[in-house]
């Protein structure tokens, strides 16, 4: 509890600071506006003032002095949201000093780990994502049975206080790798997670005894038990990484027994238990570009997964999981490709857009501010030259909290330097 209250104060302070970036007032006029939360409106205007969306529709009065951007023939969507990334936590994979996504923890439990405390706000991977329309991401801890807490950041320049939208948005655990979770078998891994949940409840009831050293030993450190309390009280969602359909079912049972707010990530075989996930109201974070039985836990992996889940009524959020291309950091922009592939393999276009905007925003508890284009929401808006999921489409204007960003990326600078050979080393 001590650790948590510290965290809450920290979070509140950050939230206040985050509002300080100067926004401009802008009207994006005449575009095809995908509100996500409501109807798609043709020839519509989105008015953004003081960082917030103040009007959406075909009959919006644009105050004098507001910058106008002609969106005729363009598509306008909420800024894209990727629920699970390692942006700012991993700069160069092989260089350990630039990897800050994991905690040592104790016995593979690191619930108190808050990776945004070590956020690299100077990461050169932020701007390329933003340039291609990704405005908000979850930054997820990695490793262990309980990896730690997921934070939500906006992809804006600045420091942690400018970027952090919501700390402690979810707890991250896994039922996909027994060894990684300090167990010798899948059954033991499940038992360890249940033991942690039991001990957290016991600890919460007997904190005073614990402080007097009159409680039995618990499976986790005090700081981690503290961090788990909001999870067992249903105040903080728990994301469990699981692929095998049986492991997903185990997660559903645990969530029911302990009354947890659960989501599944990975979920290679989630389609096999889609009806159960739907009945339990458990969302799934998964990708749409993986169909390889890469392990015995993923034998049923298929590209139709996301579409089948959605068809069964499951809330689906798309994340990158195709493997080699590092969609967690360098290529978060490829979330658009995931969406396109989800559509090619059975998801509706509107559901795919939702899966990269409102669906993750809702699960992560930030849909009051982002994820759709609605009056009063933050001005996280992108104007595209066409269908955002097509490769030929460009994000022409990207706004976060009403401010437009168009900075050159490190990749842009390199391309510019070597556009003509031999290069000049005295230019950019």
């Amino acid at each position: 509890m001590r650790a948590l209250s510290k965290l809450s104060r920290f979070g509140a302070a950050l939230a206040l600071l985050a509002g300080s970036a100067r926004a401009q007032d802008v009207a994006i006029t005449g575009g095809r506006v995908f509100t996500v939360s409501g109807a798609t409106i043709d020839n519509a205007t989105v008015l953004i003032q003081n960082g917030r969306i103040t009007a959406v529709g075909t009959n919006v009065a644009i105050p004098a002095g507001v910058q106008r951007i002609d969106a005729a023939g363009k598509w306008v969507t909420p800024g894209l949201v990727v629920g699970g990334t390692e942006i700012g936590l991993q700069e160069i994979g092989a260089i350990g000093s630039t990897n800050d996504q994991s905690a040592t923890g104790k016995d593979q439990i690191a619930a108190s780990f808050q990776p945004w405390l070590g956020l690299n706000t100077a990461s050169v991977l932020i701007a390329p994502g933003r340039k291609e329309g990704v405005t908000t991401v979850g930054i997820a801890p990695q490793g262990g049975l309980v990896a730690g807490q997921l934070g939500v950041i906006d992809l804006v320049p600045g420091h942690t206080s400018d970027m952090l939208r919501k700390p402690a948005a979810a707890m991250v655990a896994q039922l996909s790798s027994p060894r990684g979770g300090g167990a010798a078998s899948r059954g033991e891994l499940i038992a360890r997670l249940k033991e942690l949940l039991d001990d957290t409840k016991s600890y919460a009831r007997r904190r005073a005894d614990y402080e007097r050293a009159q409680a039995r030993p618990f499976i986790a450190r005090q700081s981690d038990l503290e961090a788990m309390i909001p999870v067992v009280e249903g105040r903080m969602p728990l994301i469990i990484d699981a692929d095998n359909a049986d492991d997903i079912e185990a997660a559903l049972s645990i969530a029911k027994e302990y009354k947890l707010r659960l989501a599944i990530s990975g979920g290679a075989e989630a389609w096999k238990v889609a009806d159960r996930l739907a009945a339990a109201g458990v969302p799934v974070f998964t990708g749409a570009m993986n169909n390889i039985p890469a392990s015995f836990a993923q034998l049923g992996q298929r590209q139709e997964n996301a579409g089948l889940l959605r068809k069964a009524g499951v809330s689906v959020s798309l994340i990158g999981n195709a493997g080699g291309g590092d969609e967690e950091a360098f290529n978060i922009r490829n979330i658009k490709q995931e969406a396109g592939n989800a559509i090619a393999y059975g998801m509706t276009w509107n559901d795919a857009l939702r899966a990269v905007t409102l669906a993750p925003a809702t699960f992560l508890g930030v849909s009051d501010r982002i994820g759709s284009i609605e009056n009063g929401k933050d001005g996280n808006v992108v104007m595209w030259s066409g269908d955002p999921f097509e490769f030929s489409t460009r994000a022409e204007h990207v706004f976060i909290k009403g401010r437009e960003y168009s900075e050159k990326t490190r990749q842009d600078m390199l391309a510019e330097r070597y556009r003509t050979l031999p290069p000049s080393y005295y230019k950019p």
Binding site: I92, G138, D241, S265, E304, A329, N331, A415
Partner: protein
Amino acid sequence: MSKLALALALTACASTAQTAQQPVPAQPSTTAPATTTPAPAPRAGAGAGAFSMPNADPFPSTYLPFPSRTTVIRNVTILTAAGPRITNGSILLRDGKIAEVGQTVSAPADAVVIDGQGKYVTPGIVDTHSHIGGSAAPGDRGAQTDDVNEATNPVTANVWVEHSVWPQDPQLPRDLAGGVTTIQVLPGSANLIGGRSVVMKLVPARSAQAMKFPGAKYGLKMACGENPKRVYSGRGPSTRMGNVAGYRTAWIQAEGYRRRWDNWLAGDRKGDPPGRDLGLETLAEVLRGNILVHNHCYRADEMMQMIDISKEFGYKIRSFHHGVEAYKIADVLAREGISGSLWADWGAFKLEAADAIRENIALVHNAGARAIVHSDDPSGSQRLNQEAAKAMAAGRAIGIDISEDDAIKWLTINPAWALGLDDRIGSLERGKNADVVLWDKDPFSVYARPEKVWIDGAVIFDRLDPKQQWRTDFEMGFVPDTRGGNR
């Protein structure tokens, strides 16, 4: 939220030990007169005193084309990779070959006729950088399916990756369903010299030999930079200069070996021949121009050094693989006639990949070098068309005028050239092998999927017909049968 993609894809190359081999063109090397592989000397069979000859073909291809029917696809957009697209065109496949392609073709009475309204036809995709079969799925610890890095010695020119290829790898039919018809399977990049590659057709088979592309040259995999020096940091090489010394030492040995054998073969062939050395045999064949060099190399400066090494010993680098900094020396690649087998957008997984830019392929193309979209990944290989679309869009965004007719070459005729097969595959021209993909939409759209795939004129994949969807032995029982998908 954890990295699920772990084991499989990455063990082969990119992060653990990627190697890229470049095939050496079949041209004479510059320092040594070109000779063809020596004709086998008299051979005593299995009797006393028998000896095997170097450079024979001990694991010959047993591939036979699948049964095919004369087929016409008409009313379709054809990206030929040999010129401008043909809209509302037709193509005739007969006897395993492309018999006609054009606005109209003759339609034999017995032909299967497919209406391609709204659809696209391209050559089969050729992936120069695959580990499928060699680094197979599933990749669980204990599955022992990761067989591409013989990481026991920095120079293992003696290994042949075909001896690691498992024809029941479930990644094979998935690659085919992505429109890929020919792959080069490479050893990994743990080693300076990783061994021989093999070029394969994506067809069901009981043996690797039955997948081997008849008559295809072998490749040699070499690797620069971080992977070898990391893998061998304890015993060496542990530095980039150690890497270079390692290549040069190997080539010096190969020169001597080649000379001893060539002299012996040119002489009276009496007495004992020089002792055989599997690794040096392979390297000598590179020096003779019979094996193509595929060189995994990320950084521009290291590629420049590899080019100098190739000149010192008189071999050609056929393709730099990965080459995330190829754009920095695109002019040199064009001048030297070296192709670039490149990713659309992988980068930052290690420092030597940190300067990756999405414009890489377009800039290499624009400089006049042969640009190739490669995968090094069983997942990415299934969507090479999408990778090409990204690279094309990135090029256009900085003002490079690239047409789809250009970009299709990155997937077809250019990789075919890198494998020395551009006279047989890689474009839709009369007389070439009928390796063909029918796409349900423009293949540069994210929504496009291959609908049918032909290899040597035989339908080998049909998305609309579950009976034409190859299922490996491994999959039966283990993997849910979802053929036919959700449509």
